[in-house]
Subunit: 359 residues, 3 copies
């Protein structure tokens, strides 16, 4: 494909004398002759010097004489369009019902629906046009799935959950498992029936081995365009707004509401019944126990505002020096004898329980 | 259903003049005309003023003139009974063997067992009366399952594991995977055969995508009535007592023993070979490295007694102010010059490695 | 089996007068008459006094008159060999193609391959000799699997992933799910096609419900002999070296490279694009945000060198006492009035957001 055609494809501008032939795409460190690469983050610009790529997609600020460039205000997005062109999407199942699938007689299938071997579509389910349900996946009773969805192998969609259009669900994921709710009576836990459902809006993607619980009553809801990574836990009655990013191994407890354009980094935990405002960013491994206002950026367990948390982290790293200073002051004021007596060595030795062990 | 009938159903007391007709159940914020709602937590009592519900289940202390009330000492439990009445349980598979299931000829099935499409029951397995094994679930060789169990779709029960009566296992969960044990010899890890099993006692519920490893030798055991949430890791040879609550994404390392009536909140980690006493509560995201006595409540990583941990958290939040005080004292005692010289700015800037990034 | 035969089997030395008959194997606390047990960790030596075992495998240093001993420099490894002898491996599926499996006509199967009921082998896949694919597992298009692999039930191997020889994959695990990558354009996330693959080298074991994402371009790679526990997240383009140990619930973010002989303990999180040197040990629940040099041992979130981190932990445990000292100094220098005025009680009470709640 000619570089000029690529420029046209991505809506960018060709900034090169000749019109090269591009035969593939690759990251800047691995690109070879004939490849197109890209630079989105300015700190990778120096790599343009050493790349073997034939050409690069760059932003409007990047200058690099001697390499054919395609300019686009969002090079990462432009590059995505090129990857799509060179690598047409692989689909895990073709249109049509595999002879070894099971489909209830009253299920409603749209046009060009694909059902893989050993997939199950239960009674009353509705599946939209061109949606693919891969091998071993389960679509429960009265589930509704929109058009152009892609359900990878070994997914479980429990009864009555609702998926919009263009939803992607990766393998091992469970949508609509029972919420975790029990009432204790006479020392024994009794299960609260979980009679609500789950709504997954258009353009959501769910990673592998995710668990999304159905609501006790009402619904658990994932907003349009939100992307959820692998091994995430979404408890009953959680609501997540549009275009949020939930990174791997995050856990969100029951009834918490997360706004739009929120980012929860890896392994974050949110307790229940919180309100997390639009545009919030929670750094990796943080634990959030309180409502967060729109735009807040927090870090730590318990989570604090980013700047404060970083300041505290820096102090903690220097605590040994600060304690030395404290002791020096004590000696200056009270004399050595007193300072000696005020040491707490026993407590120190008994308070180092951490052990490095694999298991 | 008449409110008086509901009072009778739950064993409560009708505290209302007229006898209303109840048509549904809903949480207090969402209830509409005809609905019954409930208040268990005193802090939600004010919501009784604004609810549109026709009636509420409340405890014996709550007074609210103008709303029909059913009194019960445990309103949450009473409400649970009402939900069950209005929403009969949905079962993911009917009694009977689906023609597309696979059952080994020598498997023993009780009365009214239900096997969904593409479920597998291997040789020597025994399944109790009325137990349901949903689509795509796997019951390995010589597994024993009691009566009235509910195994949701795509569950894996490995060879020889044992489940009691009324056990519920949600989708994607694996019971009896090999424990994680290797002996290193000449720089290479050799697998310790994991020849033990798993015992799941009566009335246990396992969430979605849980992993419970079989014992190296002997058994991993989950006690009667214990409830385990989604994405929990239970390592080999762990023992958990009765009526404990293990919240989502908890990890329990090998050979640790957890008592009765314990609560491990979300994302807690326990190292191996610990003894956790009855009634212990471990707060979310805590890391436990030492034995805990019965009734201890702990928080933090490393976990400390709750009150101490809260005190320390409060101090940490105020560390910037305390360090200012320390410096002020230094200036007062040693003068400005000395205090200036003792600053450690380089260390501070090099010790803020945290970055807020989605991945 | 005679003890002398066991000594020969493990390549050890018989240190006993008579030649006992051994009928089973068991851990030291549970062993009964006729059992062989072992002591690898010197702190368990005292248990030799009370064990009911007939004999024990011990190292060359352990003396214990009155018990039959087999000496081996690595007793744990020797014991492993004995367990293997007494408990021949159980395999979840026999050789041969189950009549209810689905195999694409152009898939290439080696000798004595076993395919369980409802397993799927897609077009162009190649499966090596004696490899077993258990019930409900999915082998995508053009997947290549070596010889002597063991794929437990309900595993998903997505298109084009590559597994070496003697690889073990536990139930619920997904290899080759799409990496988590999106470009934001006009407020909406657009998926970066994930067109790379995953390479799992020889002798790797993957636990249950693990997720390993395919690379955006190029490959995600798990090195020879590395062992990965349950519920671990491996993001796109991660590389892990040989003989590393990744304990349960660890998350490794995109493009991070982990060396050889590394140990990541339970619930550790690594941010993206890091280089973790050979032989590194990361303690449980730590969060790593920076490159680590070969041999570093780190602890904490953020992770610090082990000794420093332990020192800081000890100081943190004693912070209440240190703050008392600080206040005493303030009173001594500035008088009571000033010290009183400088207290920050409001901040303290507002900064204890932690709540102990199950969910």
């Amino acid at each position: 494909m000619k570089l000029s055609e690529i420029a046209r494809l991505v809506g960018g501008e060709l900034a090169a004398a000749g019109d090269l032939e591009i035969t593939g795409v690759a990251p800047i460190g691995q690109a070879g002759p004939g490849d197109l690469t890209f630079v989105a983050n300015p700190r990778y610009r120096p790599l343009l010097k050493s790349t073997k790529a034939a050409a690069a997609v760059v932003d409007n600020q990047t200058e690099f004489p001697g390499l054919a460039l395609v300019r686009h205000p969002n090079p990462y997005y432009a590059f995505l369009l090129v990857i799509r062109h060179f690598h047409p999407e692989e689909r895990p199942v073709a249109a049509g019902i595999h002879p070894q699938a099971f489909v209830a007689p009253d299920a409603l299938l749209g046009k060009e629906v694909g059902l893989g071997p050993f997939s199950v579509v239960e009674s009353g389910a509705k599946i939209g046009d061109r949606t693919l349900i891969a091998a071993g996946s389960y679509v429960g009773r009265e589930v509704e799935i929109g058009a152009d969805c892609l359900i990878y192998p070994n997914v479980t969609l429990r009864e009555r959950v609702w998926l919009g259009n263009r939803v992607v669900v990766h393998s091992g994921t469970v949508v609509g498992s029972d919420g975790f709710g029990y009432a204790k009576e006479k020392g024994v836990y009794h299960k609260i029936p979980q009679v609500g459902t789950v709504v997954i809006e258009d353009d959501v993607e769910l990673g592998a081995n995710v668990a999304i619980d159905r609501a006790t009553m009402g619904e658990t809801r994932i907003g349009k365009g939100t992307k959820i990574d692998n091994l995430v836990q979404i408890a009953h009655n959680v609501k997540i707004g549009e275009n949020s990013i939930i990174v791997s191994q995050v856990g969100i407890s029951g009834s918490t509401e997360v706004g739009k354009n929120v980012t929860l980094a890896g392994q974050v935990g949110l307790t229940g019944h919180l309100h997390i405002g639009d545009g919030v960013i929670v750094a990796a491994q943080s634990g959030v126990h309180r409502d967060l206002k729109p735009g807040q950026i927090v870090l730590g367990s318990p989570a604090r505002d980013l700047q404060k948390s970083k300041k505290i982290e820096a102090i903690i790293s220097n605590l040994p020096e600060y304690i030395e200073k404290l002791k020096k002051l004590e000696r200056a004021i009270f004399g050595n004898k007193h300072a000696e007596a005020s040491k707490t060595p026993a407590a120190i030795s008994s308070e180092t329980p951490e052990e490095v062990e694999a298991k």
